[in-house]
Amino acid sequence: MSQVMIGLEIHAQITALNSKLFCSCRGNYRDLRPNSNICEICCGLPGSLPIINQKAIEYSTMTSLALGCKVPDKIMFYRKNYFYPDLPKNFQITQYNVYGISSMGIDGKYELDGIKQIKISRIQLEEDPGRIAYSEDGMNVRNTALIDYNRAGVALIEIVTEPDFTGPKEVRQFLNKLSLTLEHLGVCDTLLEGSVRCDVNVSMNGGNKVEIKNINSFKEVEKAINYEITRQSSVYGRNLKIEHETRHWDDKKKITFKARSKEEEHDYRYFPEPDIPVIVLGNDFVANLKQRMPELPNERFERFKSKYELSDHTSNILINDKKLADFFESTLKLHFSPVEIANILVTEFKSLIDDDAESRDYLKNLKVKPEHIAELVKLIEGNKISRTTAKDILVKIFESGKLPTEVVNSSNSYKIADEKTLMDAVQSVFDSEKSAVEDAKNNREAINFLLGKVMKFTNGRADAKIAMRLINSKLAEH
């Protein structure tokens, strides 16, 4: 059995920010005409100077705290020097911990599943570069390069872990939990295109470390790791050595390929950014931030269990989907019936949403609002409709956006509690299911079968309690 060590370097944009890290251009550069979201600062025009975004300091400190990092009293910025056309100044303003601590957080611990902990080496704040698009002709020769600087200067949080992962499954667990944490903190909407990126390093059997760059979504990470483990195993299988190298992930072909050797030889010539003086965070800043910090996923989990008396299982499903959990709590404000509401949300409601990619964005596209669910639960609890009916109603309101009462009224779906009507139904079931009736005299299971038939006969509208009572008394007559 081969031993695998995996470490991650994650870049998450602070999508919550209105402006970029060092200027007032928009933080949300998506869907804008190329080079329309730029200014002298993010374009690095001569004479411009960076102005640090205070909110970015707060968000990255919150992230550090949430990932169990120590936050230093003072932070500073460094220049990482390298030439690339998407980098307007030909240096990136970032942080660096070799000559003393400069970054937002260090030495963190992040719990994976209650047992395993992943060590976080550092968390730093830095600027995103722009983007280059190449046009390629038939011969695959680059003949035009277009550069869009709209993204240049957007705030990124870099999270670097120790190589503590032993396989792709742990990595997936970690990234899921991290996404959830970032989402709860309001730092990063990880579903936005390009908002999270990941570099991975993989080594096997204590051999050389291979770095994989350019993995542009968390989903691809697991695939890249699996590919790389298979590749390295087959190299070992042929008794060859794994070289220390950088590889890129090709998300079309789903393979990693070796980077040009030049890319590995960078000397970034880090030195302190002279235009941004040392920033003193201080105890008050951190204490104040801790108070204002949004609830983290595990805190919410505990609260759901204790305050709402939900099961581990139900709480977990809700917590793992922040928007669903938010929806749940909005519904509670309208009608406080946590268990009933949670049960509907984590079962029927969730499966309806999972089937429909369009409605993934609960807030925007979903026709069903907390008002609908609250009303639906009131109808169930008021004994107005059966649970079976409720499922059908849910499907209908999901499609139409109509309120449950309206649907129930127009489709005449109220529960049937009238004994005479129910007795008629029981009678016709007894007429058609003679052998089952015989069985039922001795067998409880068969009674349930009869009840099911009655429910079916009434299109699920029968009041189950009354129907059962009628079945029992009818059986006694026989």
Partner: protein, 481 residues
């Protein structure tokens, strides 16, 4: 009455507001003087006479309509060509930026405009501010108005020469290691490098961010005070800027303790030393005490300066890749590495030298040996100076260790060239204010005295300079032009 083109800035403002002459009269006279003098001196890279005349007319109209015209109304200003001016080409005397027209004004330029100053154009310098003679300009070098065979000093040589030759009332320079004070000394004008952080650097095209400041070059202390107060202040666009108390013209001077730096006076030209000694007598005349002091760590200053300045420069100048702005250059194919190196061939020799030195001292394995060590020496020197300022209000010495020299004399030997900055770099490393004040001539060549004070103690510099200016009588205008 003084000729119009010899007026000091405050006299211009007075004359205008009192209706003795119009701004258009004044600007026209200055432009005529430029036309006469410029072929000999070469102070300007870009002249904007049309812009200056139209600004003058606006001022005249405002005066007529009794509107507020600002503290610098009608004063003509020349701007070192590394300070960004919206709509006016800003070249840094480099081929790399020969077609670069800024889209924004530096904060200091905005302050000047608000105060009614008239921008005449952009003044020559050593490429990106790297040099002490203007010989490293991509354009022709500026000549010293006191002796056209001599260099005007640098890197703000255009600024020093233009003020001395009367081509503008006041000039703005920038000072990274002496670039305001050196030409002020060589051209017999007054130049101040403010405390680091007093003046916003926004729009100043960076050479070495942690060392440099924009500052005024003038012909009188009073003009200097007026100018300094206008450009000082905390700027939201510059994280390193700070607020400060405005400077006033002193009514009388308190007794100041002055130290004369022994190392600087023993190591300089005898001619220079003689004039500085006699100026130190004047220091006593105005009621200050004056005794010799020693700076132990002085010999670390120059190596520390050139290490740090080059390191910062190597990174600052990386952005000039001709992708977003720059000069005409065929792109060729997209092999980026080749493209970058081809473009960057077009820097001048001195700039390339400093980029190479800077890249070297920052590279892995050498960072600790050079860059980090240079920073430590900088701190050491700063601490020693701050300690000295507990005892002394001011430290004085020659601004330049030598007299203005001939063109070509030092250009072949970079080390010789670097050595002339020995006296001035101290103030940049320590972030303290320093002024160069004309104190006399030797064989017709100017000598300046440098006065330094503790951070944000510009008032003390001004107090002493204002009194010294009264007792040291020096000709205001060179005869050679």
């Amino acid at each position: 009455m003084t000729k119009l083109d010899d007026l000091l800035a405050y006299e211009v403002v007075e004359g205008l507001t009192e209706g003795q002459f119009t701004a258009e009269d004044y600007v026209t006279t200055i432009i005529k003087r430029i036309e006469r003098v410029e072929p000999k001196v070469h102070s300007f890279i870009t002249l904007d006479t049309d812009g200056a005349l139209s600004s003058a007319r606006i001022i005249d109209k405002k005066i007529k309509e009794r509107e507020d015209v600002g503290q610098l109304a009608g004063v003509t200003i020349g701007i070192k060509d590394n300070i960004s001016t919206q709509g006016i080409r800003t070249t840094c005397a480099s081929k790399i930026l020969e077609n670069y027209v800024p889209t924004f004004d530096a904060t200091v330029i905005r302050s000047l405009k608000v105060n009614g100053a008239i921008l005449l154009g952009k003044l020559n310098l050593d490429e990106f501010g790297m040099g002490s003679t203007t010989e490293y300009s991509r354009y022709q070098p500026t000549r010293n108005p006191w002796n056209l065979d001599c260099v005007p000093g640098g890197s703000s040589g255009g600024s020093g020469a233009a003020v001395a030759a009367g081509e503008c009332t006041i000039a703005l320079g920038s000072d990274t290691g002496g670039s305001i004070r050196c030409p002020s000394s060589f051209c017999s004008v007054i130049g101040l490098k403010p405390t680091y952080g007093r003046v916003s650097r926004y729009g100043l095209i960076s050479y070495a961010n942690s060392l440099e400041q924009i500052g005024p070059i003038c012909r009188s202390v009073r003009d200097l005070v007026m100018m300094l107060n206008i450009i000082s202040g905390k700027d939201a666009l510059d994280n390193t800027s700070m607020s400060s108390t405005p400077i006033s013209i002193p009514s009388r001077i308190n007794k100041l303790n002055v130290g004369i730096i022994r190392e600087l006076i023993t190591d300089c030209d005898q001619e220079v030393a003689k004039l500085i000694y006699s100026a130190s007598e004047k220091v006593k005349e105005i009621g200050c005490s004056c005794e010799e002091v020693s700076i132990k760590n002085l010999h670390y200053a120059l190596p520390s300066y050139y290490t740090l300045a080059s390191a910062e420069a190597s990174s600052n100048l990386a952005r000039y890749d001709n992708i977003r702005y720059g000069f005409d250059y065929p792109i060729g194919e997209y092999k980026w590495d080749t493209y970058f190196s081809n473009v960057r061939e077009n820097f001048g020799e001195e700039v390339k030298r400093r980029i190479l030195i800077g890249s070297y001292v920052l590279s892995s394995g050498y960072y600790g040996k050079y860059y980090l060590k240079a920073r430590r020496l900088r701190s050491l020197l700063k601490l020693e100076l701050l300690e000295l300022f507990k005892k002394y209000d001011l430290l004085i010495g020659p601004t330049m260790p030598i007299l203005p020299f001939k063109f070509g004399e030092k250009i072949d030997d970079p080390i010789k060239m670097y050595l002339v900055d020995i006296n001035t770099v101290i103030a940049n490393l320590a972030g303290i204010p320093a002024i160069s004040l004309p104190v006399g001539f030797s064989n017709g060549l100017p000598v300046g005295m440098q006065i330094m004070a503790a951070p944000f103690e510009e008032q003390k510099l001004i107090d002493a300079s204002y009194e010294l200016e009264k007792v040291i009588n020096i000709p205001r205008r060179p005869n050679s032009i």
